[in-house]
């Protein structure tokens, strides 16, 4: 195994481009090292990206949007009051990952690029319409978070490509987001269903909405029908019923040790309701 500590994105991407065998970027290592120790993935090349300038920074852009460095940990996000105020759902979703110890290491980028359909921060980022900045042989470009996962454990990043930052839009007035997951215990568990909702209200009425589901399909889902079900409403019971039905209908889950198909489909609807209510209350509070 070869271990590298590149000082720049270009160097890191070049190492990845020229490497043979299995390559992994080492952010917090809470997936990479666990998989290594469990004999699941033994990388030939390990590229530690934590020594690249700026990767530990959370920056608010002039347009109000946010750029989150690829080595920023969950704990650092939670401790950032302005980010947490703007994107409480995204920050909470990342905060759900693991324990205090894991929070000191785990990153948003790692959570996304590990490619797990159950990754907690991903539905929240998709609901937020987040994108990633990518560098590599094709040059620097942006890709929607929704388009990164392609299958369990797989991403659309080509050989030699890497994420250089996560971008969240500016929080518009009257907006709010939330993320909830269902686990059988209270913590230290993997989502059986995850749901992110981001919406805007004007005079109590929902004007924009994005609803995203995790762990109910091979990749994260952006459920347009679920958003349509509540846009134009005041999130009354009828709208919530339509939302739950649309969320459940979008599911394409598997039966496994973590939950049955019918359970996941049902709980997706339950969570969509609960998450939307939190996002709505936040949006109302933000609009006041």
């Amino acid at each position: 195994m070869h271990y590298h500590t590149p000082a720049s994105f270009d160097e890191a991407a070049a190492l990845a481009a020229s490497a043979t065998g299995i390559t992994r970027f080492l952010a917090g290592g809470t997936d990479v090292l666990v998989q290594l120790r469990a004999d699941i993935v033994t990388p030939d090349t390990l590229i530690d990206i934590k020594h690249i300038a700026g990767v530990h920074d959370i920056i608010q852009m002039p347009n109000g949007g946010w750029q989150i460095g690829i080595a920023v940990t969950g704990a650092e996000m939670t401790e950032h009051p302005a980010l947490a105020a703007a994107w409480p759902g995204v920050v909470e979703a990342m905060d759900l990952v693991g324990s205090t110890q894991i929070q000191g290491r785990a990153t948003l980028t790692g959570n996304l690029c590990n490619g797990s359909p159950a990754a907690d921060s991903v539905p929240a980022m998709v609901a937020a319409d987040a994108s990633v900045s990518v560098c590599g042989p094709k040059g620097a470009h942006k890709v929607a978070v929704l388009d990164i996962p392609t299958a369990p454990g797989r991403t659309s990043l080509a050989k030699g490509e890497m994420v250089t930052a996560i971008n969240l839009p500016a929080r518009e007035p009257g907006g709010g987001d939330a993320y909830l997951r269902f686990i059988p215990r209270t913590e230290m568990d993997i989502a059986v269903v995850g749901c992110g909702v981001n919406l805007r209200v004007d005079g109590g009425k929902i004007t924009h909405a994005r609803v995203s589901l995790g762990a109910v399909a091979p990749t994260v889902l952006l459920v347009g029908e679920a958003a349509d079900a509540i846009i134009g409403s005041t999130l009354d019971d009828a709208a919530l019923d339509r939302l739950a039905a649309a969320a459940s209908a979008a599911c394409n889950p598997i039966d496994d040790k973590r939950g049955t198909i019918e359970f996941r489909i049902h709980v997706a609807g339950v969570l969509a309701r609960r998450t939307a209510k939190i996002a709505y209350d936040r949006a109302i509070a933000a609009g006041e």
Binding site: P184, E187, M188, D189, K257, R258, F263, H266
Partner: protein, 749 residues
């Protein structure tokens, strides 16, 4: 011993809760656990395990592995002793497969190499050719016609004709006429119950360091609940004389019954014998799940008849336990414990020990009893509901007491079930209002407790302090309890006593730390050894004073004349006697060896409040109270710890823990991510009430407390969840998908 000989009051040290002597070592990292041993030239072992649930081993080709860098030894079954029978053969077969791999994770070969990585890499190079055989992992399927036969001829002669060869042992007991009893009942309820296998989940994986040299002498360091047992089994499996192997028990990171046998210890010794170097083996968590000893899974039918006034007229239970690919499921304990809390005229219990393609089950706190309680106490709860009866009053009406002929045969001596029920009834928890969506469950539980071979030595030092040497690994704070009991007898402070767990070369044989026996049996032996030492101390004082030894009493750490006729001498403190012991007759050592047979059975009553999320089926335990008879709580804080620990593990067993096997017979959840034990935030504060009804068989009335606490939780939680969910839950675990489905089915949805 009669109750008159039991000291029940006037204690100075017993009943206080000082810090445990091993506490600082444990919180500073100085304590040495199984994996903390190192030796010069040490090699590391790795085990090759079967990926198949059932497969004939056609060949094992070790050529490539042997050529790998750093490899110093490879063993297969051929490297162990051959002439084995009975349980030694079973353990051998479990430790290293013979002709057939019997479960996913079954060891088939092992490597010793110069580093952990070298050993692991080499293990991957061992080429095993398997012929895959049909498998079965479910208990009911394993008993059914046409099920794959695990091992023909494994059944003993207790098994009635006509049963599948996987049924290897049969038990039947009880008294009275159950059919007549059911005919007398106003209501008879019968239900079917199932529980999945769970794991003890001890935080420390199995680990050992073994040395076996060309001179035939061996050393073994390991994490175990009983090192004499390790000595006995390992020497048998390696074909050596028992005394040539010295075994030392490390500090132990939990066992709960799962460290009462061996898995890797004989393998380390066999590798060491070939390499002529010490070999260390540490299991991964996945190996612990796949190839140590989880509990049995069960399928049970329980039928109980009750009169309108709550009197139980008859009870019958059929308990089928799957215990892995060996005869070992503790089905007779399940059967015998099932109805033990109740004073019944008509009772019958039947047990089946069923083999399946799973690892050999091991003990887990009160082995077999919790499953029985789940089934029996659920049916009693249902009867109470149907007949509009209070669950505690109904249990009180039927409760076993002194003189009751127990469902499993003997007549109970002084027991404390009624006292636990009365304390539960009086507890504010029982009358506290419930919120909507919540349910309250009650359950009783029973465990026998045990004595067993015990040997203790107590040596006095020249300054009058004392060192106790016991042979029972400390799995729950027992060193503190031993020191408290010795302090009481010697009349010296707790801090002046050091209690050590001796290795197998330093003391007589000691049975494993199991059966809740340590504070009872080693405690009894400690008291008797201290009394032996006191007698010798009194003898020294008598000699000095020139009076009869019988005329000397021991009071508050001093020899004193027993009365005015004995003479007028100042009290002689222990330190003064010990200072001169070299010149007054030599070292003063008290000792005691016996197999105490007066272990007192123990009962508990638990109260649980559970809340069920009607939309997801997820259960939260919102309040929990354990009431249990300790006989006498030597160290109340650690007794409380045992009560809380049993309840915590029971909550896991009830709600989320389970072995999940795929259709391929492979274990799907061999890591803590998917084998869901409760995390701290899943548990409420667990309240405890220590009831003390003395056991006539112990000088201070001690009953064991370590096991009974896990008997009632599953039943009590099932009763609470069933009430909250509005539907009877008959299968464990009560995971959210299962509860949600039961609620949906009940609604007809």
């Amino acid at each position: 011993m009669s109750l008159d000989d039991v000291k029940t009051s006037g204690f100075k040290y017993v009943g206080t809760s000082p810090d445990r002597p091993d506490g600082v070592d444990k919180v500073t990292g100085r304590a040495k656990f199984g994996a903390d041993a190192y030796a010069a030239g040490m090699l590391h072992g790795a085990i090759v395990r079967s990926p198949h649930a059932h497969a004939r081993i056609i060949s094992i080709d070790t050529t490539k592995a042997a050529a790998a860098e750093g490899v110093k030894a490879i063993v297969t079954r051929a490297d162990f002793h051959t002439d084995l029978s009975g349980e030694n053969w079973n353990i051998m077969e479990n430790v290293m497969a013979g002709d057939t791999a019997l479960y996913d994770g079954h060891a088939v070969a092992a490597i010793a190499a110069t580093s952990v990585l070298a050993a692991r890499d080499a293990a991957k190079l061992v080429e095993v050719t398997y012929e895959i055989l049909p498998h079965v992992t479910d208990v009911d399927e394993a008993m059914a016609q046409g099920a794959p036969i695990i091992r023909a001829g494994a059944a003993d002669n207790s098994v009635p004709d006509g049963l599948h060869p996987n049924v290897v042992r049969y038990h039947e007991s009880g008294h009275g006429d159950v059919d007549a009893g059911f005919a007398e009942a106003d209501l008879v309820i019968e239900d079917h119950f199932r529980t999945e296998a769970t794991h003890q989940g001890y935080i420390e994986p199995h680990a050992c360091l073994g040395t076996l040299g060309g001179d035939g002498k061996g050393e073994m360091w390991c994490t175990t609940q009983g090192h004499w047992n390790v000595q006995k089994i390992c020497s048998a499996l390696l074909g050596m004389e028992t005394s040539q192997l010295r075994v030392t028990a490390s500090e132990i990171g939990g066992g709960f019954g799962g460290k009462t046998t061996v898995f890797i210890e004989p393998v380390a010794l066999a590798l060491s014998r070939i390499a002529n170097r010490p070999v260390k083996i540490v299991m991964s968590r996945s190996e612990v799940f796949r190839a140590s000893g989880p509990t049995s899974s069960t399928s049970m039918d329980v039928k109980i008849g009750m009169k309108k006034d709550g009197t139980i007229t008859a009870a019958k239970g059929v308990f089928r336990l799957q215990g892995g690919a060996f005869p070992s499921a503790p089905m007779e304990f399940t059967a015998m414990c099932a109805f033990a809390p109740y004073n019944l005229s008509n009772v019958k219990q039947i047990g089946y020990d069923v083999m399946a393609n799973r690892p050999k089950q091991a003990a887990y706190r009160a082995p077999g009893s919790p499953m029985a309680a789940f089934a029996v106490e659920s049916v009693i709860d249902e009867l109470c509901k149907e007949l509009g009866l209070d669950p505690i009053d109904t249990r009180l009406k039927n409760a076993s007491h002194e003189g009751t002929k127990a469902s499993y045969g003997p007549t109970f001596q002084r027991i404390g079930l009624v006292e636990t029920l009365e304390a539960a009834k009086a507890h504010p928890h029982y009358s506290a209002p419930l919120k909507p969506g919540q349910g309250r469950g009650i359950s009783c539980g029973f465990w026998f407790n045990f004595g067993g071979e015990t040997s203790v030595s107590l040596a006095l030092s020249m300054d009058g302090s004392a060192q106790i040497v016991v042979g029972t690994p400390d799995i729950g704070g027992s060193r503190a309890s031993m020191a408290l009991m010795a302090a009481e007898e010697l009349g010296i402070p707790y801090e002046n006593i050091r209690c050590t767990i001796a290795d197998t070369a330093s003391l007589g044989y000691n049975e494993v730390s199991h059966g809740s026996r340590v504070t009872y049996a080693s405690g009894l032996a400690t008291i008797k050894a201290a009394r032996d030492a006191v007698k010798k101390l009194c003898g020294r004082a008598a000699a000095k004073w020139g009076i009869d030894p019988e005329a000397v009493d021991w009071v508050d750490g001093c020899a004193v004349p027993s009365g005015p006729n004995a003479g007028d001498f100042d009290p002689m403190p222990i330190a003064e006697i010990c200072k001169r012991m070299g010149s007054t007759g030599g070292p003063i050592v008290g000792h005691f060896e016996a197999s105490p047979e007066g272990a007192g059975v123990s009962f508990a009553t638990h109260i649980v409040d559970a809340e069920v999320d009607p939309e997801t089926g997820k259960t939260s335990i919102v309040r929990y109270t354990v009431v249990q008879d300790a006989g006498k709580a030597i160290h109340p804080a650690y007794v409380e710890g045992q009560y809380q620990g049993g309840a915590a593990q029971g909550i896991g067993w009830a709600l989320n823990e389970e072995y999940i096997y795929g259709k391929d017979g492979r274990l799907q959840n061999d890591v803590f991510l998917d084998y869901r034990i409760p995390v701290a935030s899943d548990l409420p504060m667990i309240d405890t009430v220590i009831v003390e009804v003395p056991n006539p068989g112990h000088p201070y009335g001690v009953r064991g407390v370590g096991e009974t606490s896990i008997v009632p939780p599953m039943a009590a939680i099932a009763n609470a969840v069933s009430q909250a969910a509005g539907v009877r839950m008959t299968e464990l675990p009560m995971s959210p998908p299962r509860v949600l489905k039961a609620m949906d089915d009940a609604k007809g949805g």
